[in-house]
């Protein structure tokens, strides 16, 4: 049912606390997540191939923030935040997306998902990735098949990303319990929500980088901003260079769905 479960006092809110101060950006969380989930609840997870983008539940970005000496380079793991009020669940037309009342985990039932992709449009955090091979949406399960697995020793019953993190930058626990270790960590370190303006009340919290120790002098003035998004502009620019240098335009090399149409449209519109 895509109606959200009614909140009740003392409700469990399982989630992650991610420490941006200690994350070293090694991508081990992403890799171990892929490893576990390729054969678990959501498996198999498609990999990058000609016809498929490959589905990962963890993506580790690296950002630069600020200028000069005060600037910071921050590794930033991004995964499902298991929101308290997730729009990805309420927009689902089939009931395949749901939020569990007992622990707050947001899951997709791959047997009833129709692959309409609307949930991925509704999620501001990019938590959901479409599995081209299965034709259904996939997302972080908080390793629901691991954290309750009685066949595993107790200490292993935590999400794969948390278990593998070499810097202990990821913490797992009940954020609904103010006395839990993770809740205390959030209170102590000023844990915060991503995009709070969306109003989806993410359960996962991020711990900010600690203040820099004085005396250190590093950081560079970043003059160039770089965006992977403005692909159309970048391709157009590349093509202009390609025309000048006689190289093959990038669009001409692209293949797959609609590439021929896009090439044609680009040619016509560039006149």
């Amino acid at each position: 049912m895509t109606c959200l479960p009614a909140p009740f006092p003392g409700q469990k809110k399982l989630g992650l606390v991610i420490d941006l101060d200690t994350c070293v950006g090694c991508h081990a969380c992403a890799v171990n997540c892929k490893e576990w989930n390729a054969s678990g609840h959501s498996g198999p997870l498609s990999d990058f191939e000609a016809k498929s983008d490959g589905v990962w539940f963890n993506r580790v970005h690296t950002y630069e923030a600020g200028e000069g000496e005060a600037s910071r380079t921050v590794h930033f793991p991004r995964s499902c935040l298991h929101c308290e009020e997730p729009a990805c669940v309420t927009v689902c037309p089939t009931g395949a997306s749901y939020k569990r009342a007992e622990d707050g985990i947001v899951l997709v039932n791959a047997d009833t998902c129709i692959g309409c992709k609307l949930c991925s449009w509704a999620c501001p955090y990019g938590a959901r990735e479409f599995d081209e091979d299965d034709g259904v949406m996939k997302k972080c399960t908080l390793c629901v098949d691991k954290i309750y697995n009685e066949n595993l020793p107790e200490e292993d019953r935590q999400p794969a990303c948390v278990a593998t993190c070499p810097a202990s930058a990821r913490h797992f626990g009940d954020l609904g319990d103010p006395n839990s270790k993770v809740s205390k960590l959030v209170a102590e370190r000023g844990g915060y929500d991503l995009m709070p303006e969306m109003g989806y009340k993410p359960v996962n919290k991020y711990l900010p980088p600690r203040p820099k120790k004085t005396g250190a002098s590093c950081g560079s003035k970043a003059s160039e901003e770089f965006s992977l998004i403005d692909l159309a502009e970048r391709r157009a620019a590349k093509d202009e260079i390609a025309v000048k240098t006689g190289a093959e335009p990038t669009l001409a090399k692209a293949d797959g769905k609609g590439a021929a149409f896009l090439r044609w449209a680009d040619r016509v519109l560039s006149r």
């Binding site: 923030a65 689902c92 009931g95 501001p124 990019g126 034709g135 303006e197 900010p208 992977l228 159309a232």
Partner: protein, 314 residues
């Protein structure tokens, strides 16, 4: 947002179909003398074919089209589900209207109730279609006060053009319908221009609010998580160069508004076979124009997830 052809066809064809059915219902209530059996059945067939083509096309967008029926279950929360339920419910008055005209050469009073029901059914379904987009907080160009009015206006305008052409082809000289086309067309144009003005600027979310690192200053993507495009970048990160958008907007203005309104004016003044020819041309031009309009509705929409991938604004 990636402009998927299946969704473009779905929203434009069903919009025009419900528009046509609505105009037919209005006309059969207000001016039943204009309508005879061949005209009624042609119009209803066209309307039903368009909404069915739209609905069929929408299932092509699904990863698992064979499970499409499941989408009817979550109408309590999901606009997509409500759209499905409303679309199926709208077949009832449309089907009853067609049945009445099949059974009786002049159904008269029998057709009044289904015609009365057809109007709210068409309006409700179009509203649900628009709300699928207008309800998404993540895309500011969709969660916009002009999204619903635009869907209504475009459905009514393209439906009116179709209805005018069908009337012309059946030899009806219907000044009132041509005037309705001109009035609705002008209103639709005004709404579309207002929509385009309203999507200028930036949303509330930034790379700083997305990462929470704004306290240090401007946030820039230093290293992406992966070297290839992923689903998110393909689906949500689709962007159109501004120079292309400007050209496509001009194309849309010419094909969707300029040519059809001019041709309708010609039909109104000329009459006869010229009017029929002009009315058909107007439909063809508007059909191409509305596809461009809907393509832009997706291509110009920016999703906040792109902020994680280095977009400066979304």
């Amino acid at each position: 947002m990636h402009p998927a052809f299946s969704v473009i066809l779905f929203t434009t064809a069903s919009g025009a179909g419900y528009g046509l059915l609505l105009w037919f219902a209005l006309c059969s209530l207000a001016a039943p003398d204009w309508i005879d059996r061949p005209l009624a059945l042609t119009t209803l067939l066209f309307g039903l074919a368009l909404v069915s083509a739209g609905l069929g096309s929408s299932t092509l967008h699904l990863g698992r089209p064979e499970r499409a029926w499941r989408a009817l279950s979550q109408w309590r929360t999901s606009w997509l589900s409500r759209e499905g339920v409303a679309a199926i419910a709208a077949y009832v008055p449309a089907g009853l209207l067609a049945l009445a005209w099949i059974v009786w050469p002049r159904p008269g009073g029998v057709a009044i109730l289904p015609a009365l029901l057809m109007i709210p059914a068409a309006l409700a379904t179009t509203y649900c279609t628009a709300m699928i987009y207008a309800s998404l907080k993540t895309v500011r160009q969709w969660r916009n006060r002009f999204t619903v009015p635009n869907y209504y206006a475009l459905g009514l305008f393209t439906g009116a053009l179709l209805f005018a052409a069908i009337l012309r082809l059946f030899g009806r000289e219907t000044v009132a319908v041509d005037i309705a086309v001109l009035v609705v067309g002008a209103a639709t144009l005004a709404l579309k221009l207002a929509y385009w003005r309203s999507i200028e600027g930036r949303g509330a979310s930034t790379a700083e609010s997305a990462t929470g690192l704004g306290g240090f200053g401007t946030v820039r993507l230093f290293e992406a998580p992966h070297t290839e495009e992923n689903y998110l970048m393909r689906e949500m990160g689709f962007s159109i160069a501004r120079k292309h958008a400007a050209k496509l907007r001009r194309l849309c203005l010419a094909a969707l508004f300029g040519a059809p309104l001019l041709l309708t004016l010609i039909a109104l003044l000329a009459g006869g076979w010229i009017a029929g020819f002009a009315a058909v041309l107007a439909v063809i031009s508007a059909g191409a124009g509305v596809l461009v309009e809907r393509w832009l509705f997706f291509a110009e929409a920016t999703h906040v997830v792109t902020l994680f991938y280095g977009a400066r604004a979304a």
